[in-house]
Amino acid sequence: MKATRQKKFYGVLLAPTLIFLGIFLLLPLIQLLILSFQQVDNFFEVIDGYTFSHYIEVLTTPVYLKTIWQTLFVAVITTVICLVLAYPAAYLLVRSPKRWRAFFYILLVSPLLTSVVIRTFAWIILLAQNGLVNDVLMKTSIIDEPLDMLWNMNAVIIAYVQVMLPFAVLPIATAMSDIKGNLRSASMILGSNRISTFFRVTLPLTIPGMISGAMIVFSLAAGSYITPLLVGGRMQPLLPLSIYQQIMQVYNLPLAAAMAFTLMVLVFLVIAVLGYILKKWEVRVNG
């Protein structure tokens, strides 16, 4: 009896969030889904009748296929770089003395405290032909000609990594601090040195943290458009940019909706696979 009352109470607590999400997320998504199947005339005006043609266009046109491939590729690269860089940072966070930890946490999340536009413009100043990095390299005679660092995919990845790194560090740090201290001791007394202990104990036990981090970074990197627009330029073959173009320049809303849904399904698939692995791992380790 008590349990059911408690469940009802939880329901009441959840209601505001569910109502909000229902109105401002679910309804627009349904509208978008309907839109993606609507027919258009030659001027891309929506007319009566439904069709699969937008999805067929997205999934068969070579340029869009290349875009989809590039989008996923950039997201994967960003995720991998973030995970690799996140590891030492997470280690520092977990192992640093308590009074330093708060400072490191603030330092870590500081990129999230600035607006995306300001942050991205900072990268333009740093990476441009006459920007800070080229300036320093030229003046110190390391290079003779300025490097092309802006308006390409590398710039996009650099900017992505900067802002998404905290999302990889935090779950890894959590997983790391959950490892009981005497597991490392047990490993050492059994003859593993620090490096071997890292690969045989610490690394496997932080897999859940890495998967959680990868899920967040991957979905953010696959879906961003302001950052690639500003540091990569609007011609970069990335699906969010194509969607932006269809809406703002071509005005083909149903095609944009079809692209948006294609992107969403792809990201969902990747996350579902990662989630499945995570679940498998946790059942194995924790039962």
């Binding site: 009981k180 005497n182 597991l183 001791s185 047990a186 490993s187 050492m188 007394i189 059994l190 003859g191 593993s192 040195n193 071997s196 045989r200 104990v201 496997p204 036990l205 194995r284 380790v285 924790n286 039962g287």
Partner: protein, 360 residues
């Protein structure tokens, strides 16, 4: 297999001295317990032997080798931890094989050694399980198998049984002793449980405030205490001061008389601090003849059941006496205010400290 020798081990944390000049020699094949209250430095000492902590001064020998500058992963020790410390992502088999894989053994040899080790702790059929599928006692057995699989020179046990319930702890104590005997390995057990230490060990070292207070065989430590710290730590005790009246008869501050055995010095000290264990006191409910030594009338202040015995707090002439009486003696708990006669044998009166220097 080898013994352990500690020479002048001190650990200075700057603001406090965790260990002071510990000298200890543990013989090959011996089961040695480090006993003491929490914070006494016993785990610290174990961690120094293991190599996880470095001593400020002193030398640790394992066998004939000075291991002071050898890291833990090169000391070839077996260690069992309080909360088992099994690797949760590895199966029982892989846990036991963990240390063997560091030894560049062939797959076939590793498999054989794992099977042997699991057989030793009677868990052969659990090899493919994950640690979370095992009970606490089973996990502890795996931890023991894992520690012994690498054929360590010494086995270190850090409060290995303290997470188990009372019944299982008893079983595991028995099991530990059996395994230790069959392997014949030098073993150091850290525990705060004196019963565990007394029943398992060949010898016991009692640590208090970072100082090794007494080292001796189990029975010796129980019977003859080096000092008050040891006496109070080893079980609940009654302690009282008394003055020599004649022969070996002393009179306590409460007025009752004690007759002890002759003092080991050959000359009876005038002023002495005695110790008497609660379980060594006999209880009579019929009050009679309390004029002789080692017999006293006492009033019950409080009583309670402790499993198979009754714990009675009594008072005799202003001195509190704790008594443990076997359960069947009392059909009902003795009520506060009830008068009892307490008596004991003179060999159970233990000389704790000579107070002569204080009295003159």
């Amino acid at each position: 297999m080898s013994g352990i020798k500690l020479e002048g081990i001190s650990l200075d944390y700057g603001n406090h001295l965790a260990l002071k000049e510990v000298e200890l020699e543990i013989k090959q094949g011996e089961f040695f317990s480090l006993l003491g209250p929490s914070g006494c430095g016993k785990s610290t000492l174990l961690n120094i032997i293991a190599g996880f902590l470095g001593q400020t001064t002193g030398v640790v020998y394992i066998g004939d080798q000075d291991v002071t500058n050898i890291p833990p992963y090169k000391r070839n020790l077996g260690m069992v931890f309080q909360n088992y410390a099994l690797f949760p992502h590895l199966s029982v088999r892989d846990n036991v094989a963990y240390g063997l894989k560091n030894k560049k053994m062939s797959k076939q040899d590793i498999k054989q050694k794992v099977d042997e080790s699991l057989a030793l702790v009677q868990l052969e059929s659990y090899a493919t399980r994950m640690p979370h599928q095992l009970s606490g006692g089973q996990q502890q057995r795996v931890a023991i198998a894992r520690a012994l699989a690498i054929e360590p020179s010494v086995l270190l046990l850090d409060e290995p049984l303290s997470n188990l319930d009372a019944k299982l702890r008893k079983e595991m104590q028995f099991e530990l002793r059996r395994i230790q005997k069959s392997v014949g390995i030098t073993t150091v057990l850290v525990t705060h449980d004196q019963e565990e230490a007394l029943s398992l060990s060949d010898r016991i070292g009692i640590l208090g405030d970072g100082v090794l207070q007494q080292v001796g065989e189990s029975l010796e430590v129980y019977r003859r205490h080096a000092n008050r710290f040891v006496a109070e730590f080893i079980g609940q005790v009654n302690i009282f001061d008394a003055v020599l009246s004649e022969g070996t008869v002393y009179e306590t501050t409460a007025g009752f008389k004690l007759e002890a055995e002759h003092h080991e010095s050959g000359k009876q000290p005038n002023h002495i601090r005695f110790m008497l264990r609660p379980e060594r006191i006999f209880v009579e409910q019929h009050v009679s003849g309390v004029d002789t030594a080692n017999r006293v009338k006492a009033v019950v202040k409080e009583s309670s059941y402790i499993g198979n015995a009754i714990r009675i707090r009594t008072e005799a002439g202003g001195i509190e006496l704790a008594v443990h009486a076997p359960d069947p003696m009392f059909p009902v708990l003795p009520a506060p205010g009830q008068e009892l006669v307490l008596s004991w044998n003179k060999e159970d009166i233990i000389y704790l400290e000579v107070l002569d220097h204080e009295s003159n």
